[in-house]
Subunit: 499 residues, 2 copies
């Protein structure tokens, strides 16, 4: 056994413990009886404790130092050391007191957030001081981790390793005015698509059955995964040969199940595609949240909302729902799933306005961490920024600053990765089309394996061997470039909106 083998083995055990934790979580969201939460919570925190003990043991520090002395490492070996050290430093730089404080304050804040959201009022709520505490704890965390010179970059790095505030701000600032103008332009169209057809009554069991048909066709491997229902859709890997997704159905809104399923399927295809060599190792993971999101968004939006996709799928949908769709033209259905329209809630936003929702959060997070916004100003700042970016003013905080759970559990720096995902997706897809120009024609024939083969080859197999920025350069020869996203939405939406 070399030092690298020892390190690999050590972190594979940690990975397996984290898979065990994922099963505890998956079961809790799918099949666990409602009254069994208390026992499960203790099991989850025990598994977390065991992982933490392993990450902070004296042994792991020595293993890493020993491995770092080896010369001529290949990419996988180098990445294993890099990621092991990353997790080790993260675990050892934070005192136990802080970790517990973050978890406990987060739990309280989530409860308070739910209540405040129900009451639709942030200012004066119990959630307000807890959010303030969350921010303070995240500042302390960033000060201790010190991955980057500025605090917000250190927090971003937790989700998008290697990314910084400046790098993202540069990209977001470039795209922001163009996006605002683009949304206005579409809004000026005299031939806007309507969503009404998606809001008819659709039998929920049929929706679920159809969604399983769809993921099969998208090459989701039911021998190494499954789909179930849950309140909030998610993807969970329980080993490198067991990736599960969930979906939800809404009787009077088809998008929820259909596009939610394709989205999670995109995540799952990534996790199902790591090369054997890194199975169950520390590298058996997406290389960043942004790259992970690029996979879900590519399948959901670029593929799943394309005309060719619906050329193939629409007849099946008509068979499932003849009353609603039997006489409804495919072209109009395709337009309906591509409505662009400013709205309050991020998770319901279309793929164009979505970026603006993210930019707003990104700018607020930066100012919160730097103390430029006080908590008692937060709702007002939100509303005025929202007006500026999306031309609407939230009527209450449930439609505004209280809509997302992320800040309540202490996640600051996560949001930007969602929009990075859209941009990574366009840039990677642009490359895929250059190499395989007939991809859209494939979709029209119900053939989705050629795109998957491209993604397996270029993205999936590598897991987290490469950092996001290296990966995008390896694939496309350049850094992340927002122009690809702009070009993609122009090419797609101008025709749909009759320009």
């Amino acid at each position: 056994m070399t030092a690298i083998d020892d390190l690999k083995e050590y972190f594979t055990e940690i990975k397996r413990l984290s898979y065990v934790g994922s099963l505890l979580g998956w079961d809790q969201e799918t099949y666990m009886p409602r009254g069994s939460v208390s026992g499960r919570a203790k099991q989850l925190s025990l598994v977390q404790k065991l992982i933490h003990q392993r990450l902070t043991s004296l042994e792991v520090g020595k293993l890493i130092q020993k491995a770092k002395k080896i010369n001529n490492l290949n990419d996988i070996e180098a990445a294993m050391i890099r990621e092991s050290e990353r997790e080790y430093l993260h675990a050892t730089k934070l005192p136990e007191r802080l970790v517990i404080d973050i978890t406990e304050t987060g739990s309280q804040a989530v409860e308070a957030w739910r209540k405040a959201r129900e009451e639709k009022k942030f200012k004066g709520s119990d959630f307000e001081p807890l959010l303030e505490k969350n921010v303070a704890l995240q500042i302390e965390q960033a000060e201790r981790l010190e991955t980057h010179p500025d605090l917000y970059s250190t927090l971003i790095d937790l989700y998008e390793p290697g990314a910084t505030y400046n790098w993202i701000a540069n990209i977001f600032n470039k795209i922001k005015p163009k996006l605002v103008d683009f949304v206005k332009k579409l809004d000026s169209s005299s031939n806007k698509p309507k969503q009404d057809i998606l809001r008819k009554k659709y039998n929920e069991d049929d929706q679920f059955k159809l969604s399983v048909e769809m993921i099969k066709k998208l090459n989701f491997d039911l021998n190494h995964g499954r789909q179930d229902r849950s309140t909030h859709p998610f993807t969970s890997s329980l080993s490198s040969v067991d990736t599960r997704i969930t979906t939800r159905t809404t009787e009077n809104f088809l998008n929820e199940c259909i596009f939610g399923t394709i989205h999670e399927c995109g995540h799952a295809l990534y996790d199902m595609g790591f090369k054997k060599e890194i199975h169950d190792t520390i590298l058996a993971d997406g290389c960043s949240m942004g790259i992970h999101e690029s996979q879900s968004r590519m399948w959901e939006n670029i593929v799943g909302r394309s005309k060719e996709f619906w050329q193939y799928w629409y007849p099946t949908f008509q068979e499932y729902f003849p009353e609603n769709l039997g006489n409804y033209p495919m072209e109009e259905f395709h337009r309906a799933v591509n409505v662009v329209k400013p709205s309050f809630i991020r998770v319901n936003a279309d793929e164009v306005t979505y970026g603006l929702h993210i930019i707003l959060r990104f700018e607020i997070e930066k100012d919160l961490i730097e103390g430029k916004i006080q908590i008692n100003e937060l709702a007002d700042v939100w509303n005025s920024k929202f007006e500026e970016l999306l031309g609407l003013t939230p009527k209450d905080d449930a439609d505004g600053v209280l809509q997302d759970i992320h800040w309540s559990w202490g996640s600051i720096g996560y949001f930007p990765t969602y929009f990075l995902g859209s941009m990574y997706a366009s840039q990677i897809y642009n490359d895929a089309l250059k190499k395989k120009p007939s991809l859209p024609e494939d979709y029209a024939k119900g053939e989705f394996s050629n795109l998957l083969a491209y993604l397996r080859e270029n993205v999936h197999q590598h897991g987290s061997i490469y950092r996001a920025n290296d990966l995008i350069k390896r694939i496309t020869g350049e850094d992340l470039n927002p122009d690809y996203f702009l070009k993609y939405i122009e090419n797609k939406f101008y025709p749909i909106y009759g320009f």
Copy 2:
């Protein structure tokens, strides 16, 4: 914190790890995709390793010694020390090499057993030498554990703590001739019930739906448990507030699902009923396999095959299956589920002949462990004993010595607990009837909570605080006495068979 608290906490962590292992197993048997076995196996053995490490650490030995010095222990405290020491000694007395050998030989033997059973031939099979090795390993295990002066008692003690070969042999020898005679007597009846009605076509989804209705009525708590399907029915506790059962359906045999479900429900009611004080502790378990089996068998046979039970349930069954049962009289249906008839396969045996299947295995196990039977004689010994006890000769080894999986995974000493379960059940139920004579009338009204209350009070709440033999004395005032079982079957089956 007292030394007892420390010990309790220490073993509660081990218990939680074992629950995590149970979830890994439950998921594997219910929802896990087929291709995900390899990843799951590694997780299971990791959890086993963590448990073993904890059981053999220096710390636990010291904790036990410290706790043993405390005076004036209450029953729970004394039992915690007793059970902790039991697990500690079991883990530390066996060298790692032996434990691995038992597991690995067991795995190989299970595979070889499956093949041999398919080919219906034991002698000369690959399974034969592996079973020989299993026996040798069990002998070594017993020699090392040395819980009792004789080896077989030490193995029995693994499943039925405190029980010995002599004690069981005494009981079995007393009941054996009476059981043989009783079976012959029933066989001489000129008015024997027939099973044909149970072998009609019954829709499997309806069977499952009905079985869920039944467990609800039996007070299985769906807020702290659930029922799913699996290849082999089982009960699994995933915490003291999460007990799950599985069932299977067979289109042309109603018993499989109905009585299988009631059986597992009986196990589950036990696990759902531990007093809060011992939740998730080392005492949150049945006090022995025999007592656990007494609960499943009481519900399945004494309650579930009683006339009053069917007075309540039959109309519902008629509604579910009007074609088969609409015009079929309840009395005849009740007789059909109570057919007594010698047959080859233990798991399909009725509650009377079942004991003879067990006595046969008990006698053979004793001789195997003492070297009085050689492996190459095993099939012949089986067949001649079977002829002696049940009056039939297996036509091949699949119907004979190869029918059970237990020996292939190295379980020797487990079988007798099944029949002890039937006897414990009759004796406890006799006491329940003395205290609550109207129980059968309750069943006829669909009221099963009075029996459950009795069992909660006398059996369930105590978990493994008391040893089986103490428990039965506490409840009934006497040792296990096979006469209760004999009286029960006479009172029940003579009328059914027209005597």
